[in-house]
Amino acid sequence: MLAKNKFALLWTAVFCLSANALGSDVIKRNRPKMDHESVYYFLVKQFGPASQALLKKNFLMRPNLWGGPCDPYGQVFLTKKGQGVLVDEETECPDEGMSSKLDFYVERDTLAILILDKTCEKLGQDEETLRYFLQAKSISEINSESVTQAYQAFFPNTVPSAAWTQQAMGQKSWAPIVTGLCRTPTWQFL
């Protein structure tokens, strides 16, 4: 009887295997990435002081999106206009200490991708930040060498593919090139 029910055995086996596939789950991986401070300083380095306010708002002040614990006792407040104001804004550690226990590496969720996209768009389209980016590398015209330099600002020691180089060289302005580079998540990978 059982021998006749080949499908029974197959389905039961499949079911049991899946049911018992508890998985070892003893090894978890979360690829090391730049944390909220690293991302902030990296982009400030690329886009200059004019980018600081925007980057502070979207990265430095949102450690739970980008990862990395902060230090609540690093904050020093002095009085300004009747309120406590941080001496150094870059030391802000929000959420009453909870952010001091964040993991260093956080999966980038959809909101993080969105924020990165729109921040990069603003940085790429803003004249001042774009100019800073280009001037720091002494590049102005779009050509093979300059797009490679732009690429290597985000991906040091790597050479872009011919396909990408060609696409970049076909752009009319630097904005989409710089925005596109900025939007890729992997420059954050360690």
Binding site: M1, N5, R29, D35, E37, V76, E96, K101, L102, Y105
Partner: protein, 529 residues
């Protein structure tokens, strides 16, 4: 419909469940178990990807460790980078120097020959934050039940000992010993003027000059009580374990008392007995006197296992719970096997801090006038700890448990499945016994490895032995175990981290150098760099 098929399915199901459930790692241990054999495989069997292009170049490797640890872009003028570029250092060596060449000077300030002041602060900050994040509890406002405690007790305290040992080339065991309190040395010198706590209505931080501390007769305590330092972390100094405050207030159920108290009291055992750690984890209402039954600092017990050994309760096996049943006990949990699996551990280990009692100054919490939505009063409370033996009012006969000798028991099955059930008469002794287990080192190895590679390898043996492990899993556990045993032997966490930095795991592009298909084949060494 073929009913016999249904019956057959059911029978097959039961049989197959029973069959598949019996993976080797879940079999009940033998009389004298060695669990580690169930989930460890020698890392020498690991085979790594031989392709050199899958590993980072020297410059790339140094950039990785620099950004990971300093958390800033690597400047072109960095000296170590220059040496890597000109070939006088490999990337690995540069990473090892980045971490290994930092030392504390005589004043306790961290120094490094190859880093500037900003980089140095970042190096210290990264490892300090890493160490602090290993201790889950942080909220002194909750456990202290007031806004002031976090201003005097630094809730990052538990990480300081580890950081100091790390860069100071001290034994990791030293973090579980002694009465030293490490005060962080921070910039700037300017005194911070606001609390961490905020006005719940406005969201603004509360100002120091509008709050005060009072004796219970209403007179104000003169002078400033030392705050936890604020500013950029530069190093550590051993704090004088004393801030005597006269006539400080403690309230408990039946009466209150003014007592002379040391606000910086340390109960021994390094991290285990620091007042901050105890305050965070005592778990009961401030002022509670422990009774050995319902009122016990079980949260502290759970935290010790989790924070220091990466073990979640229960740390005893099923059968052990049965052994410790107490049918005559008035407590419901004492008669239940599954409850006792945890309680047999928790309720025993806490005996070593049975005399600890939380106190709070009489400053009540900030009052807010709801009719006006403004802060009405300026008294603030903060909590501290004392021993019940400091009391002049408490009678030992009324609190036999709290006044009994401070003896507890460390009761657990360690990483190897060996049952420990040993008396401990002090927190220092508890620290010694914890430091004698493999678990303590497995936990450290696991955490550093996770920080450096993003790979979190489970080290809780109870989880491991009830999981279906692949051979690769066992090899990874074995690798972490190897590092842990190295640490146990030489006691220097920095050395272990250096080993990890040199390992193929760190050097690989994707932190994933293992070749799963060649596990049975002779070892292929990862390309040297």
């Amino acid at each position: 419909m073929n009913e016999s098929s249904c019956v057959a399915f059911g029978v097959l199901l039961i049989v197959s469940f029973l069959g598949f459930a019996q993976t080797p790692s879940s079999q009940a241990p033998a009389t004298r178990p060695d669990w580690s054999a169930l989930f460890l495989a020698p890392p020498s069997q690991l085979s790594f990807d031989p392709s050199p292009q899958k590993y980072l170049t020297g410059v790339e490797l140094f950039r990785r460790c620099y950004v990971m640890i300093i958390r800033r872009p690597l400047p072109d003028e960095n000296q170590l980078l220059s040496r890597v570029k000109n070939g006088t250092l490999t990337g690995e060596e540069a990473c090892v120097r980045l971490v290994g060449n930092a030392t504390f000077n005589a004043e306790g300030i961290l120094e490094h020959p190859d880093l500037d002041k900003v980089e140095l602060a970042r190096l210290l900050a990264t490892f300090n934050r890493l160490h602090s994040s290993w201790f889950e509890a942080y909220n002194l406002s909750f456990s202290g039940e007031n806004f002031g405690t976090a201003e005097f007790s630094d809730f990052q305290q538990m990480g300081y000992g580890l950081t100091r040992a790390f860069f100071g080339q001290r034994d990791v065991t030293s973090t579980l010993q002694g009465h030293e309190i490490f005060a962080p040395l921070r910039d700037p010198i300017n005194r911070n003027q606001y609390l961490l706590a905020r006005n719940p209505f406005t969201g603004n931080h509360l100002p120091w000059d509008r709050i005060g501390f009072f004796y219970d007769d209403g007179t104000r305590i003169q002078g400033r009580i030392p705050q936890a330092p604020r500013g950029t972390l530069r190093g550590f100094a051993v704090e004088k374990e004393s801030f005597q405050l006269k006539k400080y207030f403690i309230q408990y159920e039946k009466f209150h008392e003014n007592t002379d108290s040391n606000l910086r009291r340390h109960f021994g055992g390094g991290t285990l007995g620091s007042s901050t750690y105890l305050l965070l984890t005592m778990g009961d209402k401030v002022g509670t006197i422990l009774d050995g039954q319902v009122r016990l600092p079980r949260r502290w017990a759970k935290s010790v296992f989790k924070d220091v050994m990466c073990r979640n309760l229960p740390v005893l096996d099923e059968a052990d719970g049965h052994k410790y049943l107490q049918p005559e006990s008035p407590n419901v949990f004492s008669k239940n096997e599954s409850c006792m699996q945890c309680h047999a551990t928790m309720d025993q280990i806490v005996g070593v801090i049975r005399d600890v009692q939380g106190g709070v100054n009489n400053g009540k919490g900030l009052d807010f006038d709801r009719t006006k939505n403004i802060q009405k009063d300026s008294k603030i409370g903060f909590s501290y700890l004392r021993s019940v033996h400091d009391s002049k009012k408490l009678q030992p006969a009324d609190h036999p448990y709290a006044f009994a000798p401070q003896i507890g028991r460390l009761r657990m099955r360690d990483f190897n499945g060996q049952e420990l059930d040993e008396p401990v008469a002090s927190l220092d002794e508890l620290g010694q016994k914890i430091a004698a287990t493999d678990d303590f080192y497995m936990c450290q190895a696991r955490r550093y490895f996770k920080f450096l590679t993003g790979i979190d390898v489970e080290t809780d043996p109870i989880v491991l032995k009830s999981s279906a492990l692949t051979q690769q899993d066992k090899l990874m556990v074995g690798q972490v175990h190897e590092w842990a045993m190295q640490l146990k032997k030489d006691q220097k966490a920095e050395k272990m981290v250096e080993s990890m930095l040199r390992s193929p795991f760190f050097r690989h592009q994707n932190f994933d150098p293992i070749q799963p298909t060649s596990l049975a084949q002779p070892v292929a060494a990862a390309p040297a760099h």
